[in-house]
C-alpha cells in the first residue's frame, strides 16, 4: 500500500483510477471499518439493560448520601443545642445560691433541733 496515495485519495487529491489495486483494497477496508465504528457509536442499549447497569451505581451512592445527610443533620442539632441558646453566665449564680442555701439549711436545722444558746 502506498500511504501517500491512500491519504491523497482520502483528502480528495487523487481519483480512484490513480490508485493501485492494493491501495484500493485498503481504502475499501477503511470505509467498511468506518461504517462498523459508526454503527457502534450509534448503538443505544435497551432501557432494561441501562436500568440494570445504573442501579448498580446509583444504589450505593444513595445510601452514602443518606448517611451523609443524617450525619450533617445530627451535627446541626448538636450545634444548635449546645451553641445557639444564649450563653448566660449562670455557673457563679448557681454556686452563690448553693452557698447561701447551704448556710440557710444548716442554720435552720440548728434552730429546729436546738432550743437556744
Amino acid at each position: 500500500m502506498s500511504e501517500e496515495k491512500f491519504n491523497g485519495f482520502l483528502d480528495g487529491e487523487l481519483d480512484e483510477k490513480d490508485l493501485d489495486e492494493v491501495t484500493k483494497r485498503e481504502v475499501e477496508m477503511y470505509s467498511e471499518a468506518l461504517k462498523v465504528f459508526r454503527m457502534r457509536c450509534d448503538y443505544r442499549p435497551s432501557a432494561k439493560l441501562e436500568e440494570k447497569i445504573m442501579r448498580r451505581f446509583v444504589r450505593p451512592r444513595r445510601i452514602l448520601w443518606e448517611i451523609a445527610i443524617g450525619v450533617a443533620a445530627a451535627a446541626a442539632v448538636f450545634y444548635v443545642v449546645f451553641n445557639v441558646p444564649p450563653k448566660r453566665n449562670v455557673e457563679p449564680l448557681v454556686q452563690e445560691a448553693k452557698v447561701v442555701s447551704e448556710l440557710f439549711d444548716y442554720l435552720s436545722l440548728v434552730k429546729l433541733v436546738g432550743d437556744g444558746f
Binding site: 454556686q95 452563690e96 447561701v100 448556710l103 442554720l107 429546729l112 436546738g114 432550743d115 444558746f117
Partner: protein
C-alpha cells in the same frame, strides 16, 4: 426552843444533802428516752425525738418534723443523716443542756419534793427553768419560760442506758472524722452572743443573700446579711452598719445600739 432550832437545822441539812445527791445522780446518769418538745409563743414548734444521754455525750435522733441525728461527743457536735454526717461549727443545745448549764452557773433557786420526784427551779437571764426529776435521777419534764415563749420538754419514757456512746454511734453510722459545715467564723462568734435568731433568704438586686435576725443577750436586735458578692444594704436612721469582707463572702452586721456594735467589733478583734 433549842431543840426546835436543832430539828429545823437537821431537816434543812438533810434536805440539802438529799437534793445534792439526786442532782449528782441526775448529772451523772446515762439514759435512753423518748421525748416531745413543744414551744409555744409567737411561733410554735414541736419535735419528737429519741435521746441517748451520757454524762458528757449525747445522741439525739429527731423523728419529726425532720429525720435527723445529732450528737455531742468530746465537745464536738455532729449532725446529719446516716452516712452523711458533718461537724457542726455551732453548738447544738437542747432544753436539757440549757437547763444543766444554768443549773451549774446559777444554782438551784427553789427545790420542792413532790411524791417520788423533785421540782427544781432555776432563775437565769436565759429564762425561768423548772425541771421535774425523779428520785433515781432521771428527768421527767423540763420547762423554760423566756420572753413570753414557753418551751416544754416532756419525757414519755426514760430508762437507764447500759450501752456506751461508741456502741450507739456505730448503730447510727456516726464517725469521728467528718467534714465541717462552712460557716463564716464571724457569724459563729456573733451567734454565740445571742439568745435566739431567725434565718431567711432574700434577694438584694440579683444577688441571693442570707439574712439573720437575732436577739442579742443585751436585749437589742442585731441583723446580719451574708452574701457571696458585695451588695448595697440599706439601714434605718437609728442603725449602725459594720461591713466585713471574708475570704469569699461579705458580711454586713447591723445593730440598733452603738454599744452592741462595739461589743461585736471587740469580739471579732479578740478572736482574730
Amino acid at each position: 426552843m433549842k431543840r426546835t432550832l436543832f430539828s429545823i437545822f437537821v431537816v434543812v441539812v438533810a434536805s440539802f444533802a438529799l437534793a445534792q445527791s439526786f442532782i449528782e445522780l441526775y448529772l451523772n446518769s446515762s439514759y435512753f428516752g423518748r421525748r416531745i418538745v413543744v414551744e409555744k409563743g409567737p411561733t410554735n414548734k414541736s419535735r419528737i425525738e429519741m435521746v441517748y444521754r451520757w454524762p458528757n455525750d449525747k445522741i439525739v435522733h429527731v423523728l419529726d418534723p425532720v429525720f435527723l441525728v445529732w450528737a455531742k461527743h468530746s465537745e464536738l457536735f455532729i449532725m446529719g443523716q446516716p452516712n452523711n454526717y458533718r461537724n457542726s461549727p455551732l453548738e447544738i443545745l437542747d432544753l436539757e443542756d440549757l437547763f444543766i448549764r444554768q443549773l451549774k452557773e446559777r444554782g438551784i433557786t427553789k427545790l420542792e419534793k413532790l411524791g417520788n420526784k423533785y421540782k427544781v427551779t432555776v432563775e437565769s437571764p436565759s429564762g425561768l427553768f423548772t425541771a421535774f426529776i425523779s428520785e433515781t435521777g432521771l428527768p421527767e419534764k423540763i420547762i423554760r419560760v423566756f420572753n413570753n415563749v414557753t418551751t416544754e420538754l416532756t419525757y414519755e419514757h426514760v430508762e437507764p442506758l447500759k450501752e456506751t456512746f461508741e456502741q450507739v454511734a456505730q448503730r447510727y453510722g456516726i464517725k469521728s472524722a467528718e467534714q465541717t459545715i462552712n460557716l463564716p467564723s464571724e457569724i459563729k462568734l456573733i451567734l454565740g452572743s445571742v439568745n435566739w435568731y431567725t434565718v431567711s433568704r432574700l434577694n438584694v438586686g440579683e444577688e441571693q443573700v442570707l439574712m439573720i435576725i437575732a436577739n442579742h443577750k443585751s436585749g437589742s436586735v442585731i441583723k446580719m446579711v451574708c452574701s457571696t458578692r458585695e451588695v448595697t444594704v440599706n439601714t434605718e436612721q437609728n442603725e449602725q452598719l459594720l461591713r466585713i469582707r471574708g475570704e469569699n463572702y461579705y458580711l454586713y452586721v447591723i445593730a440598733q445600739d452603738q454599744s452592741v456594735l462595739e461589743q461585736v467589733k471587740e469580739l471579732l478583734t479578740k478572736e482574730r
